[in-house]
């Protein structure tokens, strides 16, 4: 133990470099710590290791071509980014989309929110040694990713929304698939709850660690689950309801201590709320198109061939039978999911294949130098992302591409407060605190 001479020993602080690549950090960020024994006395956070010039690329792409870039912002909940961006553009252009399209966006966003929280909890539990939790969470996430895959054609690079609507209608059997996936997700969340919530080892690591007061959180511009864990029930979905969030009933879970444990609890509770929202959406969603009999369907290639030989008279009476990636973009669907505004929305496939007007319209939408042209102006739209208020500020100068796309990344704001959270704590606390921030480098560095 303490020898009498120990207090006369000279102590020196030393620097420790964590990251940019560190096994206990998910995401590329560099934290330089100044330590006195195991206490952190100073901390410097360096970011930018995953900067991909999203905003610069946004200025050189057409309005719709920016959507795939937004997938790469927060890559564990890409659908929310898709929705946020197109909402800003629609606000600028003054477009409103049909109800069914709005419900589809909400369903997609909420499924994404669950995957986001699952990843966050799973990864941060794994970093504390709870590898089982990680596997459970990833298993549930996989089921949801498969659902997203069915809906959008991709697990992560979704690009589901379009200016003025969404890409495609619900695939057949989606609702049942969703119900089955939620059963699985609930099971996994319950298992995790049993494993972690009253687990002494877990609680010792997270309870009372990484504390922040609500005043400090607000001063740093923090939103989302992180702010709610401090006791401020600010949720963009509730505060400024967009799409159809004012028609669904959901709770905004809040914590009280603003520590890592509360953030874990808030995220756990939010997943249940997201599932409730999706279930209500399925009850409320307006009827979509009826299913046509196979006699009324025609293969897409057949339509193109017939159109080439001039046999277009009866063409528009048929429904195109499309391949999997285009499924749900037929005329029947488009009128339910996209705004009836030809200036923003691509024509349904039947018209593009079967009529000269549709074909011209299609080219008008996709050719360089053509496409959507929102009027001069600027708009800011915010949605509730996985980590907080995800805002897009778009400026148009009347061209076919944005003049400026600014993304307000929620986790960057949390990262500005990271030194505050870490200083005074132990080195070992960096890992759970950083995990609960849920930093997504793709979103933070853009």
């Amino acid at each position: 133990m303490n020898s009498p001479t120990a207090e006369h020993l000279e102590t020196k602080s030393f620097m420790l470099n964590m990251g940019p690549q560190h096994p206990a950090m998910h995401g590329v960020v560099r934290i330089v710590l100044k330590l006195k024994a195991e206490r952190i006395v100073d901390c410097d956070v360096e970011i930018g290791y995953m900067h991909r010039a999203f905003e610069k690329h946004g200025e050189s792409e057409t309005w719709n071509n920016v959507i795939p870039w937004t997938d790469r912002l927060n890559y564990v909940s890409p659908l929310i980014n898709n929705v946020g961006y197109v909402m800003a553009v629609e606000k600028l252009a003054g477009a409103t989309i049909p109800e069914r399209g709005q419900y589809l966006r909400v369903i997609a966003s909420e499924i994404s929110r669950i995957t986001d929280h699952l990843t966050c909890i799973g990864a941060s539990a794994m970093e504390l040694g709870a590898f089982t939790v990680f596997l459970y969470m990833i298993e549930a996430r996989e089921v949801l990713y498969q659902l997203v895959d069915k809906l959008t054609g991709a697990r992560v690079t979704t690009s589901y929304t379009r200016v003025g609507g969404v890409k495609a209608d619900l695939p057949p059997g989606f609702e049942d698939g969703c119900k089955a996936a939620f059963v699985k997700t609930r099971e996994m969340i319950a298992e995790t709850d049993k494993l972690l919530t009253k687990n002494r080892i877990f609680m010792d690591r997270v309870e009372g660690v990484g504390k922040i007061t609500k005043e400090d959180a607000v001063a740093h511009g923090i939103t989302g689950p992180f702010l709610r864990s401090t006791g401020v029930p600010y949720d963009v979905r509730r505060a400024e309801p967009y799409l159809i969030y004012d028609r669904v009933d959901f709770d905004v879970p809040v914590g009280s201590n603003g520590d890592n444990f509360d953030r874990y609890l808030v995220r756990m509770a939010e997943m249940e709320q997201s599932m409730r929202i999706v279930e209500q959406c399925f009850k409320q969603i307006p009827e979509g198109p009826h299913t046509l009999s196979p006699a009324e369907m025609k293969e897409a290639f057949q339509m193109v061939d017939e159109a080439k030989s001039g046999e277009t008279e009866l063409m528009l009476k048929y429904k195109a039978k499309l391949d999997q990636t285009l499924e749900g973009t037929q005329r029947e669907n488009v009128k339910f999911i996209s705004a009836p505004n030809p200036a923003f929305v691509s024509p349904p496939k039947e018209e593009a294949y079967g009529s000269i007007e549709g074909l011209m319209h299609h080219f008008e939408m996709i050719m360089w130098g053509r496409g959507i042209r929102p009027p001069h102006g600027e708009a800011y739209a915010a949605v509730e992302g996985g980590n907080g208020e995800l805002g897009f500020h778009v400026i148009s100068d009347g061209q076919d591409r944005p003049y400026r796309v600014r993304c307000r990344p929620p986790c960057l704001f949390i990262m500005t407060a990271l030194p505050k959270l870490l200083i005074g704590g132990m080195v070992a606390d960096v890992v759970p605190t950083f995990g609960s921030v849920n930093m997504i480098a793709g979103e933070m560095d853009r």
């Binding site: 130098g369 102006g377 003049y403 500005t416």
Partner: protein
């Protein structure tokens, strides 16, 4: 507002009007914006939010306030602006779409604020404070002492646009590395430009398949 009075405006908004959350701070380079052929006014600001409307402004109508609280805040702001009329330059205080053309200074710095009620979690109002600075000019006062997160975002504005904040010592880039040459979000920074650390030295690689057509695009009337 004029660059000199940004700090005062932010301080007044924060202390007297309860705008406690800095939602965003970013820049815009207006150097290549084309003048609008027809002025279309779209509602700036957000749902249920108020916008920052200077008095005696022509061009853009006042945005509609959607709730009683935001009306009061807007009135409060207008009064604030009248009181401090010395800080308002009629030309420079333009806001919204009308301001897209005929501006004097190249860069705009936007501070987006939110007034949040900590108990109910409901936002009372939103507003944006905008200022314009010319190339090489600095925003005189940093907002670091008002909002904890302004530090990083001012660094980002410097990094991306090269707009400095005069009273900040040792401005560091936020996203790019220190050896980076230029400021990438300036409109005169070509998207295909190469950096000396990365090369090639000629600076161009026109055959790169990942690059889209360079700015400006082919205009439809070029046929």
């Amino acid at each position: 507002v004029k660059p000199d009075s940004v700090h005062d405006a932010l301080e007044t908004l924060r202390d007297k009007h309860g705008f406690n959350l800095l939602v965003d701070l970013h820049g815009v380079d207006w150097s290549t914006a084309s003048p609008p052929s027809k002025l279309v006014v779209t509602g700036e600001g957000s749902v249920g939010g108020a916008s920052f409307v200077p008095p005696g402004k022509v061009g853009a109508p006042a945005p509609e306030a959607t709730s009683a609280t935001s009306v009061t805040v807007r009135v409060g702001l207008t009064e604030l602006m009248q009181k401090e009329s010395s800080s308002v330059d009629a030309d420079e205080a333009e806001i919204g779409p009308a301001a897209l053309h005929g501006r004097k200074a190249r860069f705009e710095v936007v501070y987006r604020l939110l007034s949040l009620d900590l108990e109910s979690g409901m936002p009372k109002a939103r507003c944006a404070v905008k200022t314009r600075v010319a190339e090489g000019e600095a925003v005189p006062r940093s907002a670091m002492d008002l909002f904890g997160n302004a530090d990083w975002f001012e660094r980002e504005v410097w990094d991306m646009f090269g707009v400095p904040f005069a009273d900040r010592p040792g401005m560091k880039r936020l996203l790019m590395y220190e050896e980076f040459v230029g400021h990438p979000l300036r409109k005169d920074y070509a998207i295909h430009k190469r950096q000396p650390l990365i090369g090639p030295k000629s600076g161009m690689r026109p055959d790169n398949p990942s690059l889209n057509q360079p700015y400006p695009a082919v205009k439809p009337d070029d046929e």
